[in-house]
């Protein structure tokens, strides 16, 4: 930069360092100025006396003032006095203001051993996992109590809120759920037919489609979709209510937030999931049938009669039985995470992510537990 020269020029004479400052000592030149000041402050170690002529400075702001203060402070620390001349009265008051700051050394953050940090993170993770389970159990209990209380006084149930939530969680979710499950059914049928064809057992692809969709895939896909779609929105809603102290306001008015906000939402999920699972399973079977007809050359009559032989009502019941429990898990996780939101926008984002990840994880774990349960009772 051409203006570097004029910002600060040094003259060394008989052990006396004379500095002439000029130009704009402002934020815009702070980078260049800092390196000049650092160079000069090294030079000054050899000088007996130092003087700075600030007469040429056109503009002066806190950045300039601080750098000048830093320069003089380092000389004072080395036992040398610096005289500043040619400075307007107005700039002097700014310099005086700066002489009062940064007197305490900045707190030094202790750097830890990497291994210790990793171990600590692991430990905190384990404790966090345990604490999560406790939080969810706590939320489940609170919802249970609220539900029991509402049962004794049914008029207290927020019916309007529940209908509104049902519209958002169930009715508005129907198109996307139908589309996704239709595609999944079609893909499973295509893969089944493609691979079973090698053994001449294309007919069994229908068994695969029917059993897989009714027992497992239908409910799992729907639960994962709902966790991503409605669980996240529950967490974000309750979280921003926490941030704006709306939940506290409810509490001080004598309402139980669990009863007013959370119970309707969770109940709606428990009702909505079986509905969506049913619709989703039908769409998937339809998609499978369509592929069997167009790709596998199996007429719809054959597909349906084969389906009748392959699946029993038990498969359908197993799938539908799991749905309300998955709804409960998603609701409990989403609401519990929502209430954990602190004041910052970042925390809202973190908690919403955690809500989706944890509810999908728990939904799959629950599905595994159900699989063990049904296997052991032989259905």
């Amino acid at each position: 930069m051409a203006s570097d020269v004029s910002l600060l020029t040094a003259k060394f004479e008989n052990g006396r360092l004379e500095l002439a400052a000029g130009g704009a000592w402002t934020a815009a030149n702070a980078g260049a100025l800092e390196s000049l000041v650092d160079r000069v402050s090294a030079d000054a170690a050899r000088a007996k006396a130092v003087s700075i002529d600030m007469g040429g400075v056109r503009e002066f702001d806190t950045f300039g003032a601080w750098l000048l203060e830093r320069l003089t402070r380092s000389w004072r620390g080395a036992g040398r006095a610096a005289s500043i001349v040619g400075m307007p009265e107005h700039d002097r008051s700014l310099l005086k203001e700066m002489s009062g700051v940064n007197l305490e050394p900045a707190p030094v953050l202790a750097s830890d051993n990497a291994l210790v940090t990793a171990l600590a993170a692991l430990g905190q993770g384990v404790i966090g996992f345990g604490r999560d389970l406790l939080t969810f159990a706590n939320m489940l209990g609170a919802i249970g109590i609220a539900a029991a209380r509402v049962l004794t006084r049914p008029r207290d149930f927020r019916f309007t809120s529940a209908v509104n939530q049902f519209d958002r969680v169930c009715w508005q979710a129907v198109p996307i759920i139908l589309l996704i499950t239709f595609l999944i059914g079609a893909i499973i049928a295509q893969q089944g037919i493609f691979h079973f064809r090698k053994f001449g057992a294309e007919m069994y692809a229908v068994d695969l489609v029917g059993i897989l969709i009714l027992r497992e895939v239908g409910v799992l896909i729907v639960a994962i979709m709902v966790a991503g779609r409605s669980g996240s929105s529950y967490t974000a809603e309750l979280g921003s209510m926490m941030m704006r102290e709306e939940v506290d306001a409810l509490r001080t008015m004598g309402f139980d937030p669990v009863e007013v906000l959370i119970l309707p939402r969770v109940l709606v999920l428990i009702v909505a999931l079986p509905v969506l699972t049913f619709l989703g399973s039908m769409a998937a079977l339809y998609g499978g049938g369509l592929v069997a007809w167009l790709y596998g050359g199996m007429s719809p009559e054959i597909y349906i009669s084969r389906l009748e032989e392959a699946i029993s009502l038990t498969h359908f019941k197993v799938g539908m039985l799991k749905a309300p429990f998955m709804g409960l898990v998603i609701g409990v996780v989403a609401c519990a995470e929502g209430l954990l939101v602190k004041g910052s926008a970042e925390s809202l984002g973190l908690q919403t992510t955690a809500s989706v990840v944890k509810s999908i994880f728990l939904v799959i774990v629950l599905d595994g537990l159900f699989a063990i349960f049904f296997a052991s009772i032989g259905t």
Binding site: T62, M98, N102
Partner: protein
């Protein structure tokens, strides 16, 4: 300082839908003064401020800040201009995922090419200038009290040594002592840094103690501009109610006693 106004607003019209909030409003802010804008709640004070800093679109009129006409300025000029002013929002608007220190460093880091050491020193210097301690620097905005939030937000507004500072209700939500301290702080900083301050406020105390001039906004335009005496002499019904009403009158008589 030149006589040319730093901010000059002419015939400004701003509205939302059918509603006209500012109707042919004209206002000038002189260099180095503290101008207080008063007006009824919902009367368009904050709208005026937000229009001047370019957050709201205007329907008609010209806005000139530091000699740059907002309409004629290129994108580059506008960005350069935005670096020459600082804004203190009503709720502070600190970035909640950054610490106070990082909040203050944010504009410096983006606009200046300086070392981390100077960044740290300048951030602490700004924080100390507004009355915060180095201990507060590593706190997150959610951990600050109302007064501290305002101070931290002011430090961020001052980060790049702006020429103009816009303050949107700087003392709202503060207790009288904290509000008084904040007023004194603004006055001191205006003195040392040579700032021009554009302040929207409801606080009569602030108007009496720190403002050089007051602009009263009513019916979508500036009905009167001037010193406190001008306000008290103004015949506009809203201005009369505001300054000679119960609370305004009490202050005015107290000031009158002090003067006599």
């Amino acid at each position: 300082m030149s006589d040319k106004p730093v901010i000059s607003v002419k015939d400004l019209v701003v509205g939302f839908g059918d509603q006209i909030v500012l109707d042919r409003l004209s206002l000038e802010v002189r260099a180095g003064e503290i101008l207080g804008v008063v007006g009824a709640s919902g009367g368009g004070k904050s709208v005026l401020l937000r229009t001047i800093i370019g957050l709201l679109p205007k329907r008609h009129g010209t806005i000139e800040v530091l000699g740059v006409d907002q309409d004629k300025a290129s994108e580059e000029q506008r960005r350069a201009l935005e670096r020459r002013w600082g804004v203190l929002f009503q709720q502070g608007a600190l970035f909640s995922s950054l610490t106070v220190r990082q909040n203050v460093q944010f504009p410096m880091r983006e606009n200046l090419d300086i070392s981390q050491r100077l960044l740290d020193e300048m951030a602490l210097a700004k924080l100390e200038m507004v009355g915060l301690t180095p201990l507060d620097a590593d706190k997150f905005p959610a951990e600050l009290s109302g007064g501290m939030t305002k101070r931290a937000a002011l430090a961020r507004a001052l980060a790049l040594d702006p020429e103009i500072v816009f303050l949107d209700e700087p003392t709202s939500g503060l207790d009288p002592i904290a509000a008084g301290d904040f007023d004194a702080l603004i006055k001191t900083l205006q003195g040392t840094l040579g700032l021009t301050v554009f302040m929207v406020t409801h606080d009569l105390e602030s108007l009496y103690t720190v403002c050089d001039r007051i602009a009263a906004l009513a019916d979508g335009r500036i009905v009167t501009v001037g010193s406190m005496e001008t306000m008290l002499e103004c015949t506009h019904p809203w201005v009369q109610t505001y300054f000679q009403g119960k609370r305004g009158g009490m202050l005015a008589s107290r000031i009158g006693q002090l003067v006599t």
